[in-house]
């Protein structure tokens, strides 16, 4: 079994708005897979419907060979999820949030060791909402790593970070993939996807319009890099 995520015919709409329009997708174990697209292209809906934390209208999903809804408890001991919105109780301190996160898993990793790995030592007593943007993102990675996951879902992890903080997060993620952790991430930064992802897919209005490695997409579109390929794929007009 070498499929980490298998999605078949996934559909989701909010009233008249179709967010995910019949997506088929397969992510291999251990690869870093990028879901790219504009804001509103359906990236978050695709991830959340796949995880079963948002109801889907149609389609089937298998993660690590399990059904995320009926086998939720077994699955999420192996899968870490980072959320676009923080999802923390108000006024909670970093250390307390780590303990809260640990209480959710049957065999959590030692959060103090993760604090050292992620450079959050000395922040335990600080309120989570008072951390800097980069620290918040490192904390949300820490929380997603608590189950010692085989597979990690990251939703626009670096949005809103300055260039230095983004690169810090990148090397962190590269360290994880070096250890064999599979990653599914969504992003609208092409430099990020080009550096981190083995394969990417481009979503437009809830449909897959391209799929392949960043190099393949560039070659197929006769351009030099993923950013230009992306612009060609989604049909953006050249800005002079």
């Amino acid at each position: 079994m070498d499929t980490a995520l298998r999605v078949r015919g996934l559909r989701k709409s909010y009233g008249a708005l179709v967010a995910v329009d019949g997506v088929d997708l397969e992510v291999r174990r251990g690869e870093t897979f990028g879901i790219l697209g504009h804001n509103g292209a359906g990236k978050t809906s695709l991830i959340e419907c796949s995880l079963g934390i948002r109801a889907r209208d149609a389609g089937e999903v298998e993660i690590l060979g399990m059904n995320p809804v009926t086998e939720r408890k077994a699955l999420f001991d192996l899968v870490g999820v980072q959320f676009q919105e923080s999802g923390w109780p108000d006024a909670i301190r970093v250390g307390e949030l780590c303990e809260l996160g640990s209480a959710l898993y049957s065999r959590p990793r030692d959060w103090r060791a993760l604090c050292r790995e992620l450079g959050l030592v000395g922040k335990e007593k600080i309120k989570a909402k008072e951390l800097s943007g980069g620290e918040k993102q490192r904390l949300s990675i820490l929380l997603a790593l608590l189950p010692d996951p085989e597979l990690l879902f990251l939703d626009e992890l670096t949005t809103g970070l300055d260039p230095v903080a983004r690169r810090e997060v990148w090397s962190l993620l590269e360290g994880l993939t070096g250890k064999g952790v599979g990653i599914v991430l969504s992003s609208h930064y092409m430099d990020e996807a080009e550096r981190l992802c083995d394969r990417v897919t481009v979503l437009k209005a809830g449909r897959i319009v391209a799929l392949g490695s960043p190099a393949e997409l560039a070659e197929r579109n006769g351009v030099l890099n993923l950013e230009e390929a992306y612009l060609a794929i989604i049909g953006a007009k050249e800005v002079a």
Partner: protein
């Protein structure tokens, strides 16, 4: 589930003690009312008043603290985070319910202490009888709180529902204004509010009337609670 609950409870309790609303309305307000009633009333009215004021903490924690905390967790997507983990939502509800109950018990203890020390009020039925009455009175109120917590889709609905339950019970169930001085129509309202029945239990504990007389009331409140909890547990929404 138990392991998760045991690890969540101390954290939830710590967070609750950091909530100024809960401390003000759950602890400060009932003690203030008790002192006020004691200062302006006859010893007999003070004694009856004490029976009711003990329940103010139940209303504040069960109808405000409990549903608003869970709704806030839903609003902040803390519940979504729980959903993407192996955790059982029942563990969270239990940890939060016990946290609120602890605050209500502290509130009742403080009210009791102030009533006893300042106005010499005695609980004729004994401590155990009072605690029993307190727990049975809390059960249906916490049930209503759990229903709001489980069903309210957003903070606005939760706030409105919590207020709609909290204020009538606070004013009409005999917690603050003694039902004994109410006109007949209002007294009927107090009778059908779940907390009104709970207050009757507390008052009979204070007065030391025979427990047997309370048995039908206790039974009715427990049946109501069990039915309500089953609805709340099966209709729990994550988002």
């Amino acid at each position: 589930m138990m392991r998760g609950f045991l690890r969540l409870f101390p954290l939830e309790f710590k967070l609750a003690l950091r909530n100024p609303d809960l401390l003000l309305f759950g602890l400060g307000f009932p003690v203030g009312i008790m002192v006020l009633i004691g200062l302006v009333s006859s010893p007999e009215t003070t004694r009856l008043g004490f029976g009711g004021v003990g329940a103010v903490g139940i209303a504040a924690t069960g109808l405000m603290g409990l549903p608003l905390t869970i709704s806030d967790y839903r609003h902040r997507r803390v519940l979504t985070r729980f959903r993407a983990s192996p955790a059982d939502p029942a563990a969270l509800l239990l940890a939060q319910g016990l946290t609120q109950l602890c605050v209500a018990l502290i509130s009742a203890a403080l009210v009791w202490l102030s009533a006893a020390l300042l106005f010499g009020v005695r609980v004729e039925g004994g401590v155990l009888r009072y605690i029993l009455a307190f727990l049975v009175a809390a059960a249906p109120v916490y049930t209503l709180g759990c229903l709001v917590a489980s069903l309210a889709p957003d903070m606005k609905t939760a706030n409105a529902a919590a207020s709609l339950l909290y204020f009538p019970m606070l004013l009409l169930a005999g917690t603050t204004v003694p039902t004994e001085i109410m006109p007949k129509g209002l007294r009927f309202l107090a009778e059908i509010l779940p907390l009104g029945q709970g207050v009757r239990l507390l008052k009979s504990a204070v007065l030391g009337t025979p427990l047997v007389d309370d048995l039908p009331r206790i039974l009715a409140l427990l049946v109501f609670s069990i039915l309500g909890y089953s609805v709340a547990a099966t209709s729990f929404r994550w988002d």
